[in-house]
């Protein structure tokens, strides 16, 4: 019993010591609702490149000219990790492709400069944050490869554009209905590789295409970790199509514009913040200025 008492005392000392040491950290205590953590993508990401170019403050300084973002900015390797991080932290703000927002109960897209992030607002130009989704390929792949050609025909059809226009912005021209089971070619496999932002759209398109042509068994490979991988894969010239979420940097590749995509600014679903200005975003990412969010408790106190 005596031993047990000693043991307990030591364990207690250790525990208290660790806690005391840890809580001595000079980090400032955050107000419960303020945005204190911003989440960016790595500098090589297509989404980061587009965001940095679009965030220009009222003095004309663009985020892309800032060499080192503020220390409150976290970098997440992929779209999914931004979602995970924001849905797990009520004080975090991040940005992802608008098409990736839907179906995530833990996060919400907020207004930028008072404009909702919707397809209609991007089309009429009032929502500023958007960039292209491109398919890149070698030579005349989109016409010479039977499957690729038919798949593009589907993308341009009414059904394809309906999927694109649900959360992205497709072509404006009149479209024709894609006839079910109209694919007669012999090629059944196609690789679409690249940006994690394009993948959700491509998965929907491929699933719908496979459903329409259910008499053929296809072997689509859709995946990738980034726009760079998309270009790399396309450059190999082995029949793969690259998916990139920015303008193509490679001159030897041909570009097919798949859609326009909005970049949504997201916060935790529990966060009362509904609107940010581009200046606030610039200050948060470049200077680490926290965005003050009046919480419901504070309002009632006033």
């Amino acid at each position: 019993m005596k031993k047990f008492g000693k043991l307990l005392a030591i364990a207690l000392c250790l525990g208290v010591g660790t806690f005391a040491l840890a809580s001595c950290d000079p980090a400032s205590q955050a107000d419960s609702n303020d945005i204190t953590v911003a989440i960016a993508r790595p500098t090589s990401s297509g989404t980061r490149g587009a965001f940095d170019e679009l965030i220009v403050n009222s003095e004309g300084e663009a985020l892309k000219d800032v060499a080192q973002l503020a220390s409150c900015v976290q970098e997440s390797g992929e779209t999914g990790t931004v979602i995970t991080a924001v849905s797990g932290n009520a004080n975090a703000l991040g940005y992802i492709s608008l098409g990736s927002v839907a179906g995530n109960s833990g996060i919400k897209a907020i207004q930028v400069n008072g404009v909702d992030a919707t397809v209609a607002n991007i089309q009429n130009g009032s929502y500023k944050l958007s960039r292209p989704f491109n398919l890149v390929y070698m030579g005349d792949l989109l016409t010479s490869n039977e499957l690729a050609a038919d798949f593009v025909k589907f993308i341009e059809s009414t059904q394809g554009q309906a999927i694109i226009n649900s959360e992205w912005i497709g072509q404006e021209s009149d479209t024709e209905e894609y006839v079910a089971d109209s694919y007669t070619g012999t090629t059944t496999s196609l690789t679409l590789w690249g940006s994690t932002s394009v993948t959700p759209l491509m998965n929907q398109l491929v699933a719908a295409y496979e459903e329409l042509n259910d008499s053929t068994t296809f072997d689509f490979t859709v995946g990738g970790g980034g726009s760079g991988e998309g270009e790399t894969e396309a450059l190999k010239g082995q029949g793969a199509i690259g998916m990139i979420s920015r303008a193509c940097e490679e001159e030897s590749l041909n570009v097919y514009k798949l859609a326009d995509d909005g970049i949504a600014v997201i916060v935790n679903a529990a966060c009362p913040l509904t609107n940010v200005t581009i200046d606030q975003l610039y200050d948060l990412y470049a200077n680490g200025t926290f965005i003050a969010v009046p919480g419901p408790e504070e309002e009632s106190a006033e």
């Binding site: 250790l14 950290d25 995970t84 980034g226």
Partner: protein, 628 residues
């Protein structure tokens, strides 16, 4: 006449084959260093070695900017510093706990429960008797081994869902990610390695040291901490160095809790990026042939050099009691380093620290397992395990297939090479020969190379050779990863075969080749089986080496059945659940679904790890029984 010649030819031929097998690890080490250096040359040339090593800014986005040029925007100094700091912190925390745990296991872990039951209920009495029979020491041993076998990505999830929220609460609701979270996760991960090696070192100290100290009037605690621990210091230092090597090279778990910024740390909660995570963060965005890609390979090269230096420094540690346990080394006064401290409270306190550390580890393991089981079991369904896998509703079936392929293919290649190398080392080499010590150094070097480096090499060499990422490229890469384990374990068991068996075989007229295959190898079967099981465990738990070789994507069963296609293994799938979560049902959040899938996958991995550990235990017990 002909028969004799045949045997001679056979023997000579076999010897050369075994030498070739033994030299494979030398080829592998040079191949890895050479290829990664070759891939980093463009970066060193364009950026400049000095700018690259000492530059403080890493920003690919500025490559097209007019104000910056390429020599300024790829600097790895912050990453290097972060790697060092995280490693030091994790080794201080994890190493200290590990050493105390080892002391607990050697000196204070009770053999058995001593429960008494005076009642008359026979069932309870039987239960108590059974309960008292449990060997606690061996259970604690198994706990450490299980901790060592758990895939690193599971530690990442543990860090993300348990450690980070606690740290966040300590940090006043701010983020819990960053340097402290990384250090703690790494501390848990290196703990089993350091603890089991320290335990071996403590057990190798001659018993006379301990008994002598007790005889001189020391308490148990004084004898342990003032005599035995100092005597085992070289072994403990070696264990710590191995822990450092592991901490520097760990990738995926660190990436999950790091925050990803290439900045110098300013506090315990600053977001950091280490050398390893720099590679995973940006590799998928890097175009082939770009400066960025080359700079990432150069980061890998710097990491490789760092790890090689750390591992080679083990050779500087004097080997006092390495070798057989209980071996006498007391020769003269120089080695008898018994320090008698008259009295002291410190060892008594340390004793309780040791017990607390032992309890902490047991608690951590139990908590980890319960946490994963509680979160994972509700999400395990037949469909999730073996259902048809599609792009939107991924299942584990393709991962089972690709994991199986990689295990089969890499074992089929690595076992013959590894056994051949072990045969050369134990049967043909002369003791003290220089060739052997060189080969052994290279095997140890290969064993110490971080898996992300294997991944980089595999993506350059095997994936390049096979025209892209595929299961086969992953399997070839894993051959290099598991080769050292197989060689070591087989060699150990070959050496354990008594010399008299070989002599008897020669006496009956058998040649060397025949002796090895008919007499020595069958007797060393248990060691080879252990090596196989350990290798399977390594393959199942591997992630960083497979992401860039076997691929990280959602795939279908028919695709996965062809080893020339890319498919994620179980652990890579587990990592994907965090990195690229995918919701089957749009009404539920992607992140939540991803987490649910992750815990379900983690349960499957835990079960596999537990079964493999049980197999090793059973094999070892079988060997012990055989020996009597």
């Amino acid at each position: 006449m002909i028969k004799i010649n045949k045997t001679k030819v056979q023997d000579a031929f076999a010897k050369y084959i075994f030498i070739v097998c033994a030299c494979m690890s030398i080829v592998a080490v040079f191949g890895i260093i050479g290829y990664i250096l070759y891939a980093s040359v463009p970066a060193f040339r364009d950026i400049g070695v000095f700018n690259f090593l000492f530059g403080t800014l890493w920003n690919h986005g500025l490559e097209d900017s007019d104000r910056w040029d390429i020599t300024q925007i790829y600097g790895i100094l912050p990453m290097f510093v972060n790697s060092i700091i995280v490693t030091v912190m994790s080794v201080v925390i994890g190493g200290a706990i590990a050493i105390f745990t080892a002391c607990f296991m050697v000196f204070w872990c009770p053999d058995k429960f001593h429960l008494r039951y005076a009642g008359k209920n026979k069932a309870v009495a039987k239960f108590v008797a059974w309960f008292n029979k449990i060997n606690l020491r061996s259970i604690f041993d198994q706990i450490i081994k299980l901790l060592a076998g758990i895939p690193s990505v599971i530690y990442g999830y543990f860090g993300l869902s348990v450690i980070v929220p606690i740290l966040s609460a300590i940090n006043g609701g701010n983020t819990g990610l960053g340097i402290l979270a990384c250090s703690l996760v790494l501390a848990i991960m290196i703990l089993p390695t350091v603890a089991s090696l320290t335990k071996n070192a403590l057990e190798a100290v001659p018993e006379q040291y301990y008994e002598g100290a007790l005889a001189l009037g020391n308490t148990k605690a004084q004898a342990a901490f003032n005599v035995v621990v100092p005597a085992a210091r070289s072994g403990i230092i070696s264990a710590l160095i191995l822990g450092i090597g592991r901490a520097v090279g760990e990738t995926m778990a660190v990436n999950m809790v790091s925050g990803g910024r290439a900045l110098f740390p300013t506090g315990l909660f600053s977001f950091i990026r280490t050398l390893t995570t720099n590679i995973v963060m940006e590799m998928s965005e890097a175009k082939t042939g770009s400066t960025l890609e080359s700079a990432l390979f150069a980061t890998g090269f710097v990491l490789l050099v760092l790890v090689l230096l750390i591992n080679l420094s083990i050779n500087l540690v004097p080997k006092e009691f390495k070798g057989k346990r209980g071996h006498k080394v007391l020769k003269g006064d120089a080695n008898a380093d018994i320090r008698f401290v008259k009295k002291g409270l410190v060892p008594e306190i340390l004793k309780y620290v040791a017990i607390a550390c032992g309890a902490l580890i047991a608690f951590t393991l139990v908590y980890l397992i319960v946490f994963i089981l509680v979160n994972g079991i509700p999400h395990i369904t037949w469909n999730f395990l073996f259902g048809e896998s599609t792009r939107t509703t991924p299942t584990l079936l393709p991962s089972f297939i690709s994991t199986g392929y990689i295990i089969l293919i890499s074992l089929a290649i690595a076992l013959p090479i590894g056994i051949g190398a072990a045969i050369y080392l134990s049967e043909y080499s002369k003791p003290g020969s220089k060739v052997v010590s060189v080969i052994r150094t290279f095997i140890d070097t290969l064993a110490g190379i971080p898996s992300i480096i294997f991944g980089l090499f595999g993506s350059l060499f095997f994936a390049g050779l096979l025209g892209g990422r595929c299961t086969l490229a992953g399997a070839f890469t894993m051959v290099l990863v598991i080769l050292p384990t197989i060689i070591r374990s087989t060699e150990e068991s070959l050496r354990a075969v008594p010399m008299s068996l070989r002599e008897a075989s020669y006496g009956l007229g058998a040649g060397k080749f025949r002796t090895i295959f008919k007499v020595v190898l069958p007797n060393a079967f248990a060691g080879i089986a252990t090596a196989t099981v350990l290798s399977i465990g390594r393959i199942v738990g591997e992630s960083a080496a497979l992401v860039y070789t076997a691929g990280m994507l959602r795939t279908t069963v028919p695709n996965a059945l062809n080893p020339m296609n890319a498919a994620p293994t179980l652990t890579v799938f587990l990592y994907m659940c965090w990195a690229e979560p995918m919701a089957a049902n749009p009404a539920m959040g992607v992140a939540e679904v991803g987490l649910n899938q992750a815990y379900a996958t983690a349960v499957v991995l835990l079960v596999i790890t537990a079964i493999l550990n049980l197999l090793v235990y059973l094999i070892e017990r079988h060997v012990k029984k055989k020996k009597g």
